[in-house]
């Protein structure tokens, strides 16, 4: 008696025949297959950061691709590696994604050498987003420190494009030195939007600097807003958002109305590899956006 065990070909499952869509998390699909994407534009921001415009090559994939402010993608540089990067563009921009990337290591250095036209891979979008709908009809504080402006840009675009949905809007941004300020070419544009307040501060001014000097918390001290009617998004390094959120909390903003974006090492983006775990929480699926109360409750978060 010989028994041939049945060969099961998973790619014949009906799920697989549907178009790949990372927004449909329960779909059985080629989770490691990237969308082919082309770097269509490279914009120098500072000596360490560049902005990349990345366009999904296939029309139907580009049209299907949707994301919410605060979500990130896994950016694949074939042969070098895959890294998590926040989407830094407007969700309504269907043409391309903007990714602001700081050069820190292997993959990011290769990207900084990449030329216009280079082909990369994109998987995603992944993770939670800032609850822009909940914030409707409230005032919003959009606060960023350093590279934190990259993930903050998507909510900034959302708020400015839907300005009537929100009450007062304050954009507050701080870096260590003036030459670290990102997207300086956009400040004028934001300032001119009716009812948008932009304030910028640096810790260590140079001779040319005429603006505010000090820590970002100084700007918040001077801020006139109604804490009972306010939501805040705070993006930046943990020390920064900790100080800012505690300050806002003292001023009366409830902790569940402040949102931060956490960074951890990530090797999958899909709640599998565990590299991003904070205690029992997967930063990639339960985050990266958390309200501050949840962050306070995460062991080993800050």
């Amino acid at each position: 008696m010989s028994t041939e065990l049945h060969r099961y070909d998973i790619t014949q499952e009906s799920d697989f025949l549907q178009p790949r869509d990372f927004n449909r998390k329960t779909l059985l699909q080629h989770v490691d297959q990237v969308f082919r994407a082309q770097i269509t534009n490279i914009i120098d921001l500072t000596s360490e950061e560049k902005l990349f415009h990345v366009r999904l090559v296939k029309d139907h994939q580009r049209e299907r691709f949707t994301f919410l402010p605060g979500q990130f993608v896994m950016l694949e540089v074939p042969g070098y590696g895959e890294i998590p990067i926040s989407i830094s563009s407007a969700p309504t921009n269907k043409g391309y994604l903007e990714l602001c990337i700081r050069k820190v290591g292997r993959v990011t250095s290769v990207l900084h050498k990449a030329r216009r036209g280079a082909l990369v891979g994109i998987r995603g979008p992944f993770g939670t987003s800032f609850p822009m709908e909940k914030m409707r009809d409230h005032s919003v504080l959009l606060i960023a420190g350093g590279l934190g402006l990259a993930p903050l840009r998507a909510p900034i675009f959302h708020v400015t494009e839907n300005r009537t949905n929100y009450d007062q809007v304050h954009i507050i941004y701080g870096t260590r030195t003036p030459d670290q300020l990102l997207f300086d070419y956009q400040y004028e544009q934001w300032r001119r939007i009716n009812g948008v307040n932009l304030s910028i501060i640096v810790e260590q001014p140079d001779e040319a600097w005429t603006g505010e000097v000090g820590l970002i918390t100084k700007l918040i001290d001077d801020l006139d807003f109604d804490p009972a009617n306010t939501y805040a998004i705070v993006c930046g390094p943990p020390v920064m958002f900790k100080f800012v959120c505690n300050q806002l909390s003292t001023k009366g903003v409830p902790m569940h109305r402040m949102f931060v974006s956490l960074e951890r090492r990530m090797h999958c983006g899909m709640g599998k590899c565990c590299r991003c775990n904070i205690g029992s929480t997967y930063t990639c699926v339960d985050g990266p956006v958390f309200d501050y109360w949840s962050v306070m409750n995460l062991k080993e978060a800050i």
């Binding site: 065990l5 790619t11 090492r265 709640g271 565990c274 029992s280 080993e300």
Partner: protein, 347 residues
């Protein structure tokens, strides 16, 4: 569940039949340990005789057949500035014969992580569904505490599960594929005597556990004892070697790396099992490490086993096989670490 009785010869015929055209993995005696006991591993066998179904435990779990230590996720073929991505899943069927209840429970936990929830993994599911699982009952292994975590019995997750009744096997049938296999050899219906004998064996096994771990309220206790000196005490001993995770049937953390061939024509994206005890586990660019101390990493592993997983799935991730305790050169083992935490609680 359906049950049948197979003679031992009948079962041998069944396995021989599978062996004729498929790979069969099972417990194989590979060496003798320092304590004089045989050491077993789950390895491919070429005949039924190579299987030692009476084994106590194996050094490493059968995890490697579902989550291989190294697995290619995809291959990039370069052509000048362009590339294409190729993805393959393993679809060759095979059988694993002789898994104990704890290890099948381990697979059920991996099923939860890789088969359900967000982003089911086709890599895992393809291997899992192409693997016929035949389990077998056994007396508790030394140091095993599977009973404390409810992993000493299993009611699904296998195709067939055998209980040795001396001259025959009591067979629990967990799938249609298992049912068909049993039908191919001589079998008979279960009699009342068989049921009594089966229940007696089950009782004998349950009564034989010597190692117990107090798991009531463990998730809360772990939260309370987050800053306990217990972690430093055990953490200071830890060599950060990662062996515990490799030996664990349910540890699945991994890292992904890419390599390029010497001639720059092919890039491979390779997944490799990792361990949260390894120093670079939570290291990010700029040399920042979210878990720099051995203590924090060891603690994290226990948290994932007994708190994090419990929070997500209402059960611990640990199945109580104590392989991690046996393999650890520093003598770190769950029964003692958890007992220490309870002590701390009373102190």
């Amino acid at each position: 569940m359906l049950f049948k009785i197979l003679t031992k010869d009948g079962f041998e015929q069944l396995v021989d039949g599978i062996l004729e055209s498929n790979e069969v993995i099972g417990p194989k005696r590979v060496a003798t340990g320092a304590n004089g006991k045989p050491i077993h591993q789950y390895l491919p066998v070429t005949s039924f005789g190579e299987l030692d179904l009476d084994y106590e435990t194996t050094e490493f779990p059968a995890k490697t057949y579902f989550l291989p230590y190294r697995e290619t996720l995809s291959t990039f073929h370069f052509d000048e500035a362009d590339w294409t991505q190729e993805i393959r899943y393993r679809i060759q069927p095979r059988a694993i014969v002789g898994l104990h209840a704890c290890d099948i429970n381990g697979l059920l936990k991996l099923d939860k992580v890789f088969g359900r929830d967000a982003f089911p993994s086709p890599y895992y599911l393809s291997r899992r569904r192409n693997t016929l699982v035949v389990g077998i009952d056994h007396m508790p292994c030394e140091g095993g505490f599977c009973q404390s975590v409810d992993a000493h019995v299993v009611s699904h997750g296998f195709d067939l599960f055998l209980t040795d009744l001396g001259d025959r096997y009591f067979v629990s049938i967990g799938s249609d594929r298992g049912f068909d296999l049993v039908g191919k050899v001589e079998n008979r219906e279960v009699s009342e005597d068989d049921t009594h004998a089966y229940l007696a064996v089950r009782r004998r096994i349950s009564d034989a556990f010597k190692t117990h771990v107090r798991t009531q309220n463990l998730p809360t206790l772990l939260d309370l004892e987050f800053d306990s000196p217990v972690w430093k005490r055990w953490g200071d001993k830890c060599l950060s070697c990662g062996s515990c995770a490799m030996a664990c049937p349910t540890c699945y953390c991994y890292g992904v790396n890419e390599e390029v061939s010497m001639d720059f024509t092919v890039g491979t994206k390779v997944k490799q099992l990792h361990s949260c005890n390894l120093v670079d586990f939570a290291m990010v660019a700029g040399d920042h490490n979210f878990r720099p101390s051995r203590e924090s990493r060891l603690k994290y592993r226990y948290y994932h086993q007994h708190r994090g997983f419990a929070e997500a799935y209402d059960e611990p991730k640990c199945v109580g096989c104590n392989r991690c305790g046996r393999v650890c050169l520093a003598g770190i083992n769950p029964p003692e670490v958890i007992a220490d935490l309870h002590e701390e609680d009373r102190a």
